[in-house]
């Protein structure tokens, strides 16, 4: 950040004699520039979206151009989680655990219809959108999205990082320890995901009349 490297302030800088030999900027700009150009994705590929994710990383689309040089298969060295594909309930705690293992700051991309909303799998076994499990920054529509879609989503993450400020970092990123491994969405939100829609059998969301109102610790913090 000290261009020119002039010997002394008094002898002149880059804008002529008497001008300063330094520039001022914000630490935010420097840190955000570093972060957004070295995003390491944690690939969580569970279905066909993962094939498109692989294509994005391959030479034809070359995700590395944008700083995603290395797919990090360890969540502890990753910055952005790309959930590509459908997530069954049996996998939900695994996804949550991997998200909890990623160090701050971290971002999440929900890639494709199934990860974003459950897609066509409005059935007993499927998570209806991973935003009930982890916080999601960018949703990428498509079934599956093309590699351009994933790259665009990652560039949206980059734009989001560019707007961030270190001074507001902790209020944005701090997580309540009580919420670790807990659902991100409230019980009403999760139930509401299927309430408005019928399906092929016109089934109510609680077809047997069993009404379950779980008492989730920390639920009120989310609303």
């Amino acid at each position: 950040m000290l261009p020119g490297g002039g010997p002394a302030k008094t002898t002149g800088g880059m804008f002529g004699p008497g001008s300063p030999t330094f520039l001022t900027s914000k630490v935010d700009a420097l840190i955000n520039w570093g972060r957004l150009n070295s995003l390491w994705p944690m690939p969580f590929g569970t279905a066909c979206c993962a094939i498109e994710m692989m294509a994005s990383a391959a030479s034809n689309y070359d995700l590395a151009r944008f700083g995603m040089e290395r797919m990090s298969f360890s969540p502890r060295q990753a910055d952005v989680l790309i959930c590509a594909g459908r997530v069954p309930y049996k996998l939900a705690p695994v996804l949550r655990r991997i998200w909890d293992q990623m160090p701050q700051p971290k971002w999440a991309i929900s890639m494709g219809a199934c990860a974003s909303s459950g897609g066509v799998f409005d059935v007993y076994s499927m998570v209806q959108g991973i935003d009930t499990i982890i916080p999601v920054d960018v949703y990428i529509p498509g079934c599956p999205p093309r590699p351009e879609g994933l790259i665009y989503g990652l560039m949206m993450i980059q734009e989001k990082i560019r707007q961030e400020s270190l001074s507001r970092h902790f209020e944005h990123r701090a997580e309540d320890p009580a919420l670790v491994a807990m659902p991100r969405a409230s019980a009403e939100e999760v139930v509401g995901l299927t309430g408005a829609f019928g399906n092929s059998t016109q089934q109510d969301q609680l077809s047997t009349g069993i009404v379950v109102t779980p008492d989730i610790p920390g639920d009120d913090l989310l609303s």
Binding site: Y89, V190, Q203
Partner: protein, 243 residues
């Protein structure tokens, strides 16, 4: 299989229909016992157990059998020198709905004689039990677990009968049964809460994957040793001091 419960699903059982035939399924060959030595042998040896048989999908003979002596018959099919069905390709089940019997399907193949055979055992919905054939074909271990998991059929004598696809503590029932609601029995919020409360380490411990039977399963089997017929299992366990 009474005919008073005819439904469109029966067309599935009837197999493919030759195109252009006006009579539909009636013109399809239902097969002859003379064309398949095993079917003829079964009819001769177990006339009371064989309910019916027919040819499906060109060359696949299907035999419907009473489930009561299924283990004896399957054992004979495996060990008889003229049959030698040494490969159990698949064990699955079909729930036809409408309160009709659930059918357990055994798909087997004889590598010695180059013959395939499908055995179907109808089980009434209020008595979903059949003998395990794990002692005959080791390959049915996980297949029978899958049928138990998704259809609720209890296989008597199975060494490790617990859920295989759904979580161990899944309480909503058996998902592939026709009376199972498409979205499950609990609300989405409850399903999410239960999912996140799963003990992940319980399923994915490396030593469990390596050695087969998890410790907790072995302990549970010891603790709940059945009073009859399971004595040798309880006696073999070193610390099985339940009673």
């Amino acid at each position: 299989m009474a005919d008073d419960t005819k439904s469109p699903l029966d067309a599935v059982e009837d197999g493919p229909v030759a195109s252009g035939s006006a009579e539909g399924a009636d013109t399809t060959s239902t097969g002859s016992a003379d064309d398949h030595p095993t079917v003829a042998a079964l009819l001769a040896k177990y006339p009371d157990e064989v309910q019916r048989f027919r040819l499906m999908a060109g060359d696949q003979y299907v035999v419907w059998m009473e489930p009561a002596r299924s283990h004896e018959i399957l054992s004979w099919l495996k060990n008889d020198p003229d049959q030698l069905y040494d490969m159990m390709s698949d064990v699955t089940a079909v729930d036809y709905g409408h309160g009709r019997p659930l059918e357990v399907v055994y798909q087997m193949y004889s590598t010695h004689h180059g013959r395939a055979l499908r055995i179907r055992c109808p089980l009434p919905l209020d008595a979903l039990e059949i003998d395990s054939v794990y002692d005959l074909w080791k390959s049915v271990n996980w297949l029978e677990r899958e049928v138990y998991d998704l259809f609720g059929v209890t296989f008597r004598g199975h060494p490790d009968l617990r859920r295989i696809l759904m979580p161990d503590d899944y309480e909503e029932g058996h998902p592939l049964r026709k009376d199972f609601p498409l979205r499950g029995r609990f609300s989405r919020a409850e399903q999410t809460r239960r999912a996140l409360n799963q003990d992940v380490e319980r399923y994915y411990l490396a030593e469990d994957l390596g050695h087969g039977v998890p410790q907790e399963v072995a302990a549970a089997q010891t603790a709940t040793a059945l009073p009859g017929g399971d004595d040798e299992a309880a006696g073999a366990a070193p610390e099985g001091g339940q009673g």
